[in-house]
Amino acid sequence: MGLLSPIAALGRAVLSGLAWIGRLSIFAAQTVRHIFTPPWYPRELGHALLAIGWLSLPVVGMTAIFTGAALALQIYIGSARFSAEAVVPQITAIGMVRELGPVLCGLMVAARVASSVAAEIGTMKVTEQIDALVTLSTHPMKYLTAPRVLAATLSMPLLVAIGDIIGIMGGYLVATQRLDFNASTYITNTVNILDAGDILSGIVKGAVFGFLIALMGCYQGMQSGRGAQGVGRATKTAVVAASVLILASNYLLTEVFFSA
């Protein structure tokens, strides 16, 4: 009995993990169905686009510019060891557009949006606002989940694209101001190295991350336990789970796009 208990504990953890994935998949499928079937709530979608997309711009911009700058500097220092400094623009651009842009953008938006969505919906759950929605003949998933998930899925690709541009600009500023690169050569090299696949992969990643972020926020909020503690726990779980899902799905997507 005593010997078996660690195995039993492991079994329980695996089972509850699988159950979680199952519930989340059902929730995701329902969300997608609600996005495509009426009634739609354009006003809610508008609010969500503003809160999730537009208001995330400063965070994404700051993250991208400093990351691009540090990246360019590191690549310069590393490549200088074998006198290959000329690759700075190319590698900065590829690193930014393929990986760092989408991932860092995703993580920052996860911290911002998954938490606020989970806290908002969790509070609504705890204060019976979700029940009130139901009694007012409004489906909570249609009214709350669908607009947020749609807004995040639509706006993340744009945020990623903007992040890419700002990140490359950060690298450009460091390279031209600190490292004596020629401005026009830097830009030409950057433009020449990037192809449509690089940009497209980043955009697709953005859409997937956006979907996951809002989905986790809504799911954890809807599942929130009672009281302030329940909301706190839901918020924390939403951010952690969204971040882990972003990193895991990023690896999978990279495999799909680039391991031909």
Partner: protein, 248 residues
Amino acid sequence: MIELQDIHKSFGPKQILRGVDLTIPKGESMVIIGGSGTGKSVTLKCVLGLIRPDRGRILVDGTDVEQQDRDDFLARFGMLFQGAALFDSLHVWENVAFRLMRGKLKRPRAEAREIAIEKLRRVGLTPDVADQYPAELSGGMQKRVGLARAIAAEPEIIFFDEPTTGLDPIMSGVINDLIREIVVEMGATAMTITHDMTSVRAIADKVAMLHGGKIRWSGPVSEMDSCGDPYVTQFVSGSAEGPIEAVR
């Protein structure tokens, strides 16, 4: 007509309802009384399908609620939640007019706003409250906004969970009159939970007392004082002495 038959509900090991039987005839006002935590709010939520009973049946106009179309069913209801449950991202008037701006009852915004302001007036709130947010109102004002929202679409069946808690005696009187008026004039069926004995006398046709997970007593409000049930008598008189324990 609403019929509850043998409703059971537990939360984990806690048995809350242990066989509630209750009938509310059409167009009557039923008041449910009972100690704090006995499951009055849970009973209302069971009827609305917000909580699924473990056992038992609920019939509205003779058909099982599980078999009715959910949208049609809910369209006939209005509910005031114990904690008001206002949507804090919306203005007060948008809360009140929520139902009037979506779904089958959808109408132009301006018209919905007019109706909302009229309903706010009926619960004793001035039009300037309409453009505030719920968080800017006092508890009693929020409660009245919740009441205005519950009656906004003129439902056939209305549930009020403690409509007068947190209100001053004058405002309580206004709300009691309003509930009575809705039942008499609109012919609505009402189910009200309250701890306030003045309210019970003002709004009830019938009274039911929930205790120990069952309906302990029910009957016309006129018989409440002389029913002889020691539980009801103790509750009505608010005495610490009697069969209902003060610590639960």
